[in-house]
Subunit: 195 residues, 2 copies
């Protein structure tokens, strides 16, 4: 690990090396955090109201140690029936799923459940705005892929993954920003403008 000596005496780890370690260890968390903080920013400036849905869980056992306090003692993660994010922007219904992959060459379709794909398609067919956000963590490239292009790929190509070149040619690259960290609504503006 490279350490950089700053003038004020603070030792700061090399950012790239640090980021790689984080994203390697907590796969999926980094993109999620960045989208969540961007959504918070959008809400603060009253630009959009988009939230991550809670993780779906099947609760089996709950204890009540006191009258007002419930402790879940046994529960299981369940398969989500829809996507992770939805909300309102410019009067339009926004719906998307966000995924990370460690692969440098392609995005495995096993990352997305069939009923999530069907859900994205339903939203697209009913005048909502729906898409995927896919990050290739090791390439540090994040793309917004519109549902219609995604569905066309699945229907026309009988493959188990989408190559990185397909994203480079058919999806929008989302550049890293500061505030918001991941300004995907800038791309949604292009999609809305193109409808």
């Amino acid at each position: 690990m490279i350490e950089l000596n700053y003038p004020n005496g603070i030792k700061k780890k090399n950012n790239n090396s640090f980021d790689n370690k984080i994203s390697h260890k907590n796969r999926g968390i980094t993109l999620e955090n960045e989208i969540n903080s961007s959504n918070e920013y959008y809400r603060e400036v009253e630009k959009a109201y988009i939230y991550k849905k809670p993780t779906p869980i099947k609760i089996v056992k709950v204890d009540y140690p006191s009258r007002d306090k419930a402790v879940i003692k046994e529960a299981y993660f369940t398969i989500p029936s829809t996507t992770d994010y939805n909300g309102l922007y410019k009067g339009k219904y926004i719906d998307f799923e966000a995924k990370e992959t460690k692969s440098k060459t392609s995005f495995p379709l096993s990352n997305i459940h069939n009923h999530q794909i069907k859900h994205l398609e339903n939203i697209y067919n009913n005048n909502g705005i729906s898409f995927l956000i896919v990050r290739f963590t090791k390439l540090n490239e994040t793309y917004l892929l519109e549902t219609n292009i995604f569905i066309d790929y699945i229907k026309n190509e009988n493959k188990k993954s989408i190559p990185i070149d397909f994203f480079r040619e058919n999806a929008y690259l989302i550049k890293d920003g500061y505030c918001p960290k991941i300004d995907y609504l800038k791309i949604v503006d292009k999609i809305i403008g193109g409808i």
Copy 2:
């Protein structure tokens, strides 16, 4: 408890008595179930894509008895940051909260968190369709109250509850149906038509 003898020998409990016991014991579940099944119906006929969000939970401890199996061993219910239901209908963003009360005279505002009220207001102000569905279980009356009328009441009246007469005069009565059980989109059509 009254039991009815049916010709084929099946003993069936008296429905009303049974329903009262259920709604008394599982307060809030009946309306939720009816809305969920109505939303399922709307999806099946491809009319709308509206879902209940999962219950928000803070997970503290997870065990992994085997590689692919995760068991949540300690978790707590958390206060929801938004409403329970949202989705897409006729290209519009729909957002609402549903509540039951056992009171025969008024709906206690303590049933709704402040940030849920703020959320409904944000959606209303940004060209989404937002509202409350409130059921007075003992009166068997269910109302759809538009956010702007709800917010006006809160701002103009310094009260801790909304009287039933306010609902009768200012909200839409949702009549019991068969399929869907609670056809609230019929009322949303009126709201959309009136915008």
